[in-house]
């Protein structure tokens, strides 16, 4: 054996390693400078740093993933803005007129609005944006307005007209959502005008503009000097991309972050722990959505309203929500919370009563056999499968609690943890007994909710398919969506929500809330009215 050969192998390996390291080092030079520049700028007095689990994305106002809604809403603005309680306020449209038949919407656009690059905002650019969105109608078919837009017109420089094929009352609500109907400046459009293929630059009219960005690492937003409205109190927002929730908390405790905001962005335990620490301020939002349990009425055992009602009454919602979410969610009495338009009505809550529940099951013919633990009827056991997202710890804990409580009633529940995609697939295929479901929140609800109640394919209409008044319910939904009479619409909503409450095919469990944790440096913080909007407008900071 030649020792000479062995001796030379080690330097060869070492050289290889050094070369590779140098390569890695070289490729990193760019990010080193960019990263330090981000942290340098973040040090300014009126700036804040927050974290987000995912990269902000391509900042295209007309497409969806991977662009993050909160960031899109910082740059791009709607014609109409959604305010607290569902009030609609002028934004890029100063005013609007709706024709008597509810089919023609004429918008007076705000004058002297400029995009962040200094170009004019006018009816031409509004039409161009609408047309770019409507070119890919199928992509946006989930949004009701997309299905009814017939014509877009420039009336004059500051007047834009929208003609519908049929009346549809939530036009303004749909226009207030973060995507797809927000406005990109001329300079942002690609040469062929098709924004589905990408945008040249994120040029918007909003209060913020993207100043520095490194994919998967950070994004720095600065105030748009051309902004038409009241300038935000802070002049810079740095968003650090931190995918791991525990790391996010550590970065916050070390002072690298001023704010952690969002839904489920940190664990409930971590939130509790930060809430108990006087060094920080924490806030919980109003309900942004409802966690519900669907009881598929097309299953013959669940088609009997007495069985559904017995299940609704047969578990202690209050104790379960308190125990599992540490009070960060609120027990829900109705499918939609009262902070949406038309939903502030007094529905009779369904009380927790084990006795009443047992009596209802007996009445429905489901009896406990002597010495048995599972109720039976015609030789059939009262047994269901409950499917849940196995990556969601709250769903899993709730499923187990309900399983135990219903077990006491003589109802057997088999739990199946699934991947979210498979779970959604089974919902749409109507292949489930019991399913955890969430509504959409503001500004989508209540109209999006009643829309899925009547439209097949989303799983909700199927869940309700065997309730006796389903046809009537569908007709009421159709009328409510197309009605131009406010009072009549309110009545229809009352009737729809009352029917749903009485039928108990959708059991409301809890109202989900957003959380915010921030350093004392932030003097004022307010949750946005719309679930997807950014929270930066209201933020005020004290001098360090």
């Amino acid at each position: 054996m030649s020792y000479q050969r062995q001796r030379s192998a080690i330097p060869v390996l070492a050289t290889l390693l050094v070369v590779l390291l140098l390569l890695a080092g070289c490729s990193n030079t760019g990010s080193t400078t960019a990263s330090s520049s981000a942290s340098d700028t973040a040090a300014s007095a009126k700036s804040i740093t927050m974290s987000w689990p995912r990269d902000i994305g391509t900042m295209n106002p007309h497409t969806y993933n991977p662009s993050q809604l909160f960031a899109q809403s910082m740059i791009y603005e709607p014609l109409v803005s959604y305010e607290k309680g569902g009030k609609l306020a002028p934004a890029l449209a100063e005013s609007w007129k709706i024709s008597k038949d509810g089919k023609v919407y004429t918008f007076k656009l705000r004058q002297n609005v400029k995009f962040s690059d200094g170009s004019d905002f006018n009816a031409e650019v509004v039409k161009k944006n609408f047309d770019a969105v409507m070119k890919h109608k199928d992509t946006h078919s989930w949004l009701g307005i997309v299905g009814v837009i017939n014509k877009t017109e420039v009336v004059d420089d500051h007047t834009f007209r929208l003609t519908l094929t049929e009346p549809y009352y939530p036009v303004l609500q749909d226009l207030s959502v973060v995507r797809p109907f927000r406005f990109l400046g001329e300079a942002g459009f690609p040469d062929n005008g098709d924004t589905a293929e990408g945008v040249k630059a994120p040029v918007g009219t909003g209060p913020w503009m993207l100043a520095d960005y490194k994919q998967d690492e950070y994004a720095v937003f600065k105030r748009n000097p051309n902004y038409w409205g009241k300038a935000p109190a802070i002049d810079q927002v740095t968003v650090k991309i931190i995918p791991d929730a525990e790391t996010r908390v550590a970065a916050f405790e070390k002072g690298e972050l001023d704010l952690i905001y969002g839904e489920g962005v940190i664990s409930l335990d971590a939130f509790q722990q930060l809430r108990e620490n006087d060094k920080y301020t924490t806030q919980l939002s109003d309900p942004v959505g409802t966690r519900s349990l669907l009881l598929n009425s097309s299953n013959p055992k669940l088609s009997d309203v007495r069985v559904r009602m017995a299940l609704h009454e047969g578990f202690n919602k209050q104790a379960m929500v308190q125990g599992i979410t540490s009070g960060l969610e609120e027990p829900a009495d109705s499918v939609l919370s009262k902070n949406y338009p038309y939903t502030n009505i007094d529905l009779k809550p369904i009380p927790y009563s084990v006795e009443q529940s047992k009596a209802l099951l007996d009445e429905a013919g489901w009896k406990l056999p002597a010495g048995g633990t599972v109720r039976e009827k015609d030789g059939q056991p009262l047994e269901f499968e409950m499917i849940f997202d196995k990556t969601d710890p709250i769903q899993k804990a709730m499923a187990e609690t309900i399983q135990a409580e219903w077990g006491e009633l003589g109802v057997k529940v088999n739990l199946t943890g699934l991947e979210l995609t498979v779970q959604i697939k089974r919902l749409k295929a109507n292949d489930f007994d019991l399913y955890f479901w969430y509504n959409y929140g503001a500004p989508y609800d209540p109209h999006s909710f009643i829309n899925v109640v009547a439209s097949p394919g989303f799983g909700i209409s199927e869940t309700l398919s065997a309730i006796p008044t389903k046809k009537q319910l569908d007709e009421q939904v159709r009328q409510a969506l197309s009605s131009t009479d406010e009072t009549k619409r309110q009545e229809l909503y009352r009737s729809i929500l009352t029917t749903l409450q009485e039928q108990s095919a959708i059991i409301p469990i809890s109202y989900i809330k957003k959380t915010a944790v921030y350093q004392k440096k932030i003097a004022h913080f307010e949750f946005p009215a719309s679930r997807d909007d950014n929270p930066f407008e209201g933020i005020q900071v004290t001098a360090p």
Partner: protein, 315 residues
């Protein structure tokens, strides 16, 4: 020797073939239709018409064999398709994130070598001393503690409590320290024990006794002969771990917000971004093949007896 190298190269072909089959099978055995996965990732409601259109676009309505041949043809030119999520070419996205992962992997390799080589040797030479005990403790720690947990502990002590190092991100050398330590502990645990055993084995060999008989100094025997021979298993271990590091820094990248390839892959899994997952599986297979080949060639270079089939079997 040339024959051995030739054979070794040829054996790569069936492995690559299996790798392409596995990546192809990913689409067809997954419970989720790629067309549906695409539409879900893009937040588009999947109507039957749209699903049909997308299936046609992805070529999923073609016979399986045609689909497979087309896929292999594309992969040969590093065309892994377009990410469902970002609409960007997958290879371009992967290539943009690779440097960060390579940086982390190589520093971890280097650091673990720098720590484990002296520690392993010292543990063998001063058997049952305090240094041997220390190496044993590190090995237990490295082998038994999950990486994410170690990562959190390091962040808690060195970043939050002591305020010495940043919690997350990439950019400066300070950002590298904690992820590199987290990744290295496992490697140090393995290498130290490997080297210790190997040195002890070599010290029993006849050539060492012969050298002693010749009157060579103990230190000379150690440095000139034992160490060189003991490095063989370490080199093969490091080669295999390089592949592991380049593909498996996922958890550490997640914990330290390191913008690398692993984190990109985790996102792809959550979003069912099948082209990205396919690219990852294929890329990982190729990397492991390459690392194994590299190890074999280095070992062959150091010990040409390996090229004879007998030597190979004994090895």
């Amino acid at each position: 020797m040339a024959g051995y190298i030739g054979k070794r190269m040829l054996s790569i072909i069936p492995i690559i073939f299996v790798a392409t089959l596995v990546t192809f099978a990913l689409i067809h055995i997954s419970p989720v239709d790629p067309a549906e996965a695409y539409l879900t990732a893009a937040h588009i409601y999947p109507t039957e018409e749209l699903l049909k259109q997308k299936r046609h676009e992805f070529g999923l309505d073609q016979p399986l064999l045609t689909q497979y041949v087309q896929m292999v043809g594309r992969m040969a030119t590093l065309d892994f398709g377009t990410s469902y999520l970002t609409n960007q070419p997958v290879w371009k996205e992967v290539a943009a994130r690779l440097p960060a992962t390579v940086e982390l992997a190589l520093w971890s390799m280097l650091f673990s070598a720098v720590v484990s080589i002296p520690l392993g040797i010292a543990a063998a030479v001063y058997r049952n001393s305090w240094i041997d005990m220390l190496s044993r403790c590190i090995s237990y720690l490295g082998a038994s503690m999950p990486q994410f947990w170690l990562g959190y502990l390091l962040i808690f002590f060195f970043s939050v409590k002591l305020d010495w190092l940043p919690v997350e991100g990439r950019g400066t050398w300070q950002n590298l320290v904690l992820p590199v330590i987290t990744l290295s502990i496992v490697l140090i645990a393995v290498y130290t024990r490997l080297l210790r055993t190997s040195v002890l084995e070599q010290m029993q060999e006849t050539y060492v006794q012969y050298a002693r008989v010749r009157g060579l100094h103990e230190r000379m025997i150690m440095l000139k002969h034992v160490l060189r021979m003991s490095m063989m298993p370490l080199i093969s271990g490091m080669g295999i771990n390089l592949g592991k590091l380049l593909t498996g820094t996922i958890i550490v990248e997640q914990v330290f917000s390191w913008p690398g390839f692993g984190r990109y892959f985790v996102d792809a899994i959550f979003n069912r971004d099948i082209p990205v997952i396919q690219c990852y599986v294929f890329f990982a297979a190729c990397l492991f093949i390459l690392c194994n080949l590299l190890v074999d060639l280095v070992q062959l270079y150091m010990d040409p007896r390996i090229s004879s089939s007998k030597g190979r079997a004994e090895h």
